[in-house]
Amino acid sequence: MQPIKEIRSRTVVLPLADVDTDQIIPARFLTTTSREGLGKQLFHDWRFGNDGEKKQDFVLNKPAANGCKILVAGHNFGCGSSREHAPWALLDYGLQAVISTEIADIFRSNSLKNGFLPIVVNKKCHDWLLNNPGAEVSINVEESTLILPSGDCVKYPIDDFARYCLVEGIDQLGFLQQHEKEIQMFENSRQ
């Protein structure tokens, strides 16, 4: 994984609450055996009509969304299935972070392992972001802060280990493998 220290971008706002992973990537696209190329199917049934044409009124299809790397979404983003295809699709599309007032557990865990930043902020900050689509914000991953255009700096919660892995580009499997001796001892103790 590449180290991630800072993300700077305009925001694209999807104000709906409880956006589930079936919306992020519908189940019929999960027959793939690869993790590549899923951006084409991101929010598929919200982005495209039954005729395959883009729905012009969907936020990601509007010209203002071009190049945005930060999604601002409603409460409880990523609920539902454990499919890691959800963060894979978001990343492949070009998004690098989501900001909400709550992010579902499994989606958050999957996101952190792929370098997609799940950021939870308080309601006041969230309301401001919802009301100001396209705001230029930056995320300082090392400091765990979101910097608003006013210069206000909002601290967001993140597990220290996850933050360390993101900033250093560390693969968590490597960390587990370093504990081979402890794992072996644990197994021996149970026999």
Binding site: P15, L16, A17, D18, D20, D22, Q23, P26, A27, R28, L30, T31, T32, T33, S34, R35, D45, N50, G74, H75, N76, C79, G80, S81, S82, R83, E84, E102, A104, D105, I106, S109, N110, K113, N114, D159, D160, F161, Y164, Q172, L173, F175, L176, Q177, H179, E180, E182, I183, F186, E187
Partner: protein, 470 residues
Amino acid sequence: MNKSASKTLFEKVWSSHLVKDETPDTPAIVYVDLHLMHEVTTPQAFSLLREKGLKVRRPDLTLGTMDHSIPTTPVKSFKDLAIVGQGAANQVKTMEDNCAEFGLELLGFDSELRGIVHVIGPELGATQPGKIIVCGDSHTSTHGAFGALAFGIGTTEVGHVLATQCLLQRKPKTFAIEVNGTLQTGVTAKDIILAIIGEIGVDGGTGHVIEYCGNAIQQMSMEARMTICNMSIEAGARAGMIGPDDTTMSWLKGRPRSPKGKAWDQAVEHWTSLASDRSAEYDRSVTIDGSAIEPMVTFGTNPGMVMPVAEEIPASGDSGFKKALNYMQLTPGKPLTESPVDVVFIGSCTNSRISDLEQAAKILEGRKVAEDVRMLVVPGSQQIKMQAEEKGLDKIFLESGAEWRESGCSMCLAMNGDTVPSGQLSVSTSNRNFEGRQGIGARTILASPLTAAASAIEGSVADPRPYLET
């Protein structure tokens, strides 16, 4: 016992699996006793092992099956199964190849033990109290009904478990949900869990492991308990658990992978000790009057948008609520029971066990599915299919006009060709009523097998209670 020594079921299971405890800087390393796998969330994990030249650490603790993308159309031989779509065919083949290459047990196409991963674990007796069980599937919470700590993981974590048998985890919080009282006629575990999700919300359990307790839970069968724990994830919880008791032991006794002889006696002693201590404390708790719960149905596009079947659809000014009702083509203030139904689905890891099928059959026996309704009955496993056929349930379903299928996830998530056409209304015993979950534009109402069967007969959303009066 002083309070500090009192532990919850979750804490007992958690603390006995710590290879290394968490610190402020690092998560805990927890050991996994059983790793279940299916074809959808594993291929990329095996690719990673191959890239890194790694082996599977404990093939003996790893068990695979195929359930999501396989067809459920009835055929004479599994060899004849035509898999719907090249992607699905490739995925199933990839699962076979991966399990062969890494030396893993696969209950594949030809196995009589094949079925939905969360149905076969318990059925085999592989799911046991006190275990940590994981699977690349959010409904892994089902296995918590046995007093296991069971939760869904992503594909990267599937790779971690394959390679190290361990996971990095922060300790979740605990949440006690106590359900008391005698359930009304026509009210099942499905209605209870839908009512709970309605009460605490689809994010009510985020960051928590739920323990369901109270006399209504104690009186439930294992199958009903599995239905309850299954939908813990729909309340956002990491897992759901129920303390092991005599019901648990009786269900497990004699199963193919349950301990035998002296080992069984030792296991029972250990399992019994896992129940939460009387004075154990939880981070959060809620008490629910089970006797007040009625048959429940969803009306929106998440499982928290739920109401008693006989009531009117509620109203709200919330834009998300309006969007959901617009998608569902439903109107606030109207009864849901006026809505014509196109499809009825009995199946999924929530409600596809033998007692679910028996409940549906009880209502359907001697009656006909309404002319314009397509009804699918999909057993949770090939073993359940055989049991149902021994009991003659297949004949009841077929004579009523329903389709009787092979096992699989089927119309719960519609990735195997079993789909609800766009715009059609489905009454489904599955777990998610998300937009498009059962097919593009499909409108899903979640309900119990009783409510689903009654709706199939009436051709509209129906209260099952009139069918149960003696």
